[in-house]
Symmetry: C3
Subunit: 359 residues, 3 copies
């Protein structure tokens, strides 16, 4: 038999492939199994009983255990990686991430992304910035079809051919109808009977703008991140292909696998949960967010939250919005000691129960 | 903007916080998902088909796959950690752990704990011993509400303020109605048709008091223990915060993360299963148990079982009780060789099928 | 109390225990939970939406998410390990592995194995080759009982007593009725509406015999393999007992734990999926397969597929069969560089959709 002809397929898109106005309907989709739900809910160390205790979730008017917002985000976000960021150098910013319908076990999430902007880097001609808007729908074509979340992000993407011309331009984002579904407050429900299941000091009344809560717990990451990333269908090789790095270590930050940014994202949400979101009914919006340093296996992740402000929620006397900034950090050995390094920031509005109505 | 005021919240209770008679209704609760069920049932290497084969479990009269007793214990026990032992130095003893209703996928477990006793240490004034009684209920307020298990334990807990006075005292335990639910033996069920699915030499008739079975398999633990512990909502930092240890290694045994005791507990149960509990219908009681050495990532766990005695089970000619002592051990490098180190002991009464009725 | 009598039970069978014609009805059985489904489907990096997106799977006529063929194989194969290969030196060959009914979450798989042949090694009198035929049934005694898969394999097995005589002989395999269930093609189903969810260039028309596709992604294995193997009830100690190896490293290849062959098997299937099986409705047959080198934690697995041929599928104008050979490989450090080492080969016929009918 003659030698076979060798085929190597390119995966993902490069800077010159993106055109403002272009729409990607991402492949695959993903059904949330109880396996996925458990793996990430538990990994993230969330402590909101809505994601842990089905009787509690049902008593509040949800259909069952509720995916934490970070899990909904991961399931949706990861579907955009192959088309948008498989050939990215860095994810620069999350913008206006808004949540809609709650995501339950059994829901199927599918995502599409519109290209809003493309521009080349003035200083580095081999890459540029792509600005996209993604929307995740659940259960398309079924009775409970709904938008689960929508967000924009800006990504630094390589060119495939350094001499290629990018389709520079910028269009306005679509106005996506996506606002947080909240179960109605009903007099007949005996919420107070369940109040011992969440923290007693994280009601709306308890938050004081101008304070910063240093969350007490830390969590050391291990090589488990490789499996977690695969579990999300994230296809980027910098998270899981050690040989690629060993062959050319100088090319990669730290000469080791980088942990997928979605992992510290959900872990910081979880570490902050007992102090910030134990009595939340949902996350309203992440106005902006970014990763400020890479995370590696062996690092221990910590989090802190600044309370920026508080406001009423229209039509809901039982709830209020707490405006926060979530920070993630780690400690790096330096000069015989440890240096604190920020890894993540997220401007986050949380919808929180009022003690007056629930406890 | 001015500097935010820094808040650090204390978590868990200290010796001086405990008062005999005091009741903790623990936070969170936990619904057993198929993800949690699979992770721990498989991890523990249990071989009883009741936890592996749904057709077998249903044929015996259970509603579906049955959580191994070790998993029911972990889900319940971990809920008590934040209130009882987040600031503990060591878990000294498990006492009178009795099982009740079987735990199935979908069940929600909630736990409360009563403080039975408090005493200060004569030799170490900065700590003392707390004696508690915990009870785990499933599906509270629902049709199949039941007690799943109850137990006592004694824990060595630090004071927050070394000069604080502890509320010394001891009260009697409550009489908790909790006895093992067993499916009735029914002539119409063709148990023998399923007998090939379990080991042929672990029926009641096979056990001989005065023997010790060295279970053949070992299992090496990895850093996976961090994720497993998070999966149980166990909040103790000595299991998952490597930075805390690196900052002050002399303060922590071995200068490394200690594996949560619940992990070797269920692993020893599982390693013993093919020889002891393959034909068990349930675990009746763990009269007493303790950890005798810490376990670390890299250690390989082995188990052995001594058969202490056998007795009939009132009203059940088809079953008998095997009285055992389960031992866990590992091998530690020493003087160019290996030294055997005991890590765990558990006095355990198992309800076992008689060959006369089932095979 | 007097010293207990020590019992050590032998597990598994040795060469002299096998007799041609002998039937093993394996213990345990296994129900596919959502936890097991998620762990392995995600681990393997499969990209066929039938295993990811329940709405897509139902639209094609399946009852729900479909276990990838590699997972069905692992669940079935592992049940045969204790009886057939716990005391094996190596698994020599997979032969004529054919798939039948699809396996869904909730299905219970039970397996039996017939011994077809036994022969001693001429050169190594302490071992020989056992040839077996195994068949996996799902949901025995229930409405949807069916054969899920059947296969033969040849295993090199140790003798327990080097001087024992083996029961040499060979009988013909049984003719097992097992052919791939495929959902009917129905005009009313709007397959094209879902076409964006799978790759656009992996339809039957796209494959060109005589080509070799080098799949772009690699995946580094970690010590996670120990937990994955336990999750499959595979009882072989060379995958999970590091102490056994440390005590006598010269006895074991590489002085370290070997990764269970089923792990690279499913991982190679998954790595090839985006280029080969994204539009498959099922795997028809693995005519032959073998492991050509061991895999260890730290190795990165890659895969390639040669397209050997194509043929029509009788009675199905909408489908065709693609005949492939799947290769797995890794890179090993050598002389300051890396050497490519083949680890796995599988002759694999895949049933693939035609673009003419589906896109």
């Amino acid at each position: 038999m003659s030698e076979p002809k060798i085929l190597r397929k390119k995966t993902g898109h490069f800077l010159e492939d993106f055109v403002p106005g272009q729409l990607f309907r991402h492949k695959l989709g993903k059904t949330v199994t109880e396996g996925l739900f458990a793996a990430f809910t538990e990994f993230s160390m969330t402590t909101n009983p809505l994601s842990k205790n089905a009787r509690y979730a049902r008593a509040y008017g949800f259909s069952g255990l509720v995916c934490p917002p970070g899990l909904a985000m991961l399931v949706a976000f990861s579907q955009t990686v192959e088309d948008v960021s498989e050939n990215a150098r860095a994810n620069l910013e999350y913008v206006d991430m808004r949540f809609g319908a709650p995501v339950y076990v059994g829901d199927t999430i599918e995502v599409e992304t519109k290209v809003l902007g493309v521009r080349t880097s003035a200083s580095r001609p081999n890459l540029g910035i792509v600005h996209v808007q993604s929307t995740a729908r659940k259960n398309i074509g079924e009775r409970d079809e709904a938008i689960a979340l929508t967000w924009q992000r800006k990504v630094q993407v390589y060119k495939d051919d350094d001499k290629a011309e990018a389709h520079a331009g910028e269009i306005a984002p679509d106005a996506i109808e996506c606002s947080l579904w909240l179960p109605p407050y009903e007099q007949g429900r005996d919420y107070k009977r369940l109040a011992h299941l969440s923290n007693p000091d994280t009601y709306f009344e308890d938050f004081e703008p101008g304070t910063r809560i240093e969350h007490s717990r830390g969590r050391t990451m291990t090589s488990e991140h490789i499996a977690l990333t695969a579990m999300l269908d994230n296809t980027s090789q910098v998270h899981c292909n050690q040989y690629m790095i060993d062959r050319d270590p100088a090319q990669y930050v730290g000469g080791q696998l980088i942990i997928f940014g979605g992992i510290p994202f959900v872990l910081c949400l979880g570490l902050s949960c007992p102090d910030v979101a134990d009595n939340a009914l949902g996350d309203l919006v992440y106005k902006t967010g970014r990763h400020t340093a890479p995370l590696f296996a062996g690092d221990t992740v910590f989090a802190a939250t600044e309370i920026l402000g508080k406001r009423d929620l229209a039509g809901r006397a039982d709830l209020g919005v707490v405006e926060t900034r979530l920070f993630g950090h780690k400690f790096v050995k330096k000069d015989g000691g440890f240096e604190k390094v920020g890894i993540f920031e997220l401007d986050r509005d949380v919808v929180v129960k009022r003690r007056s109505h629930y406890a």
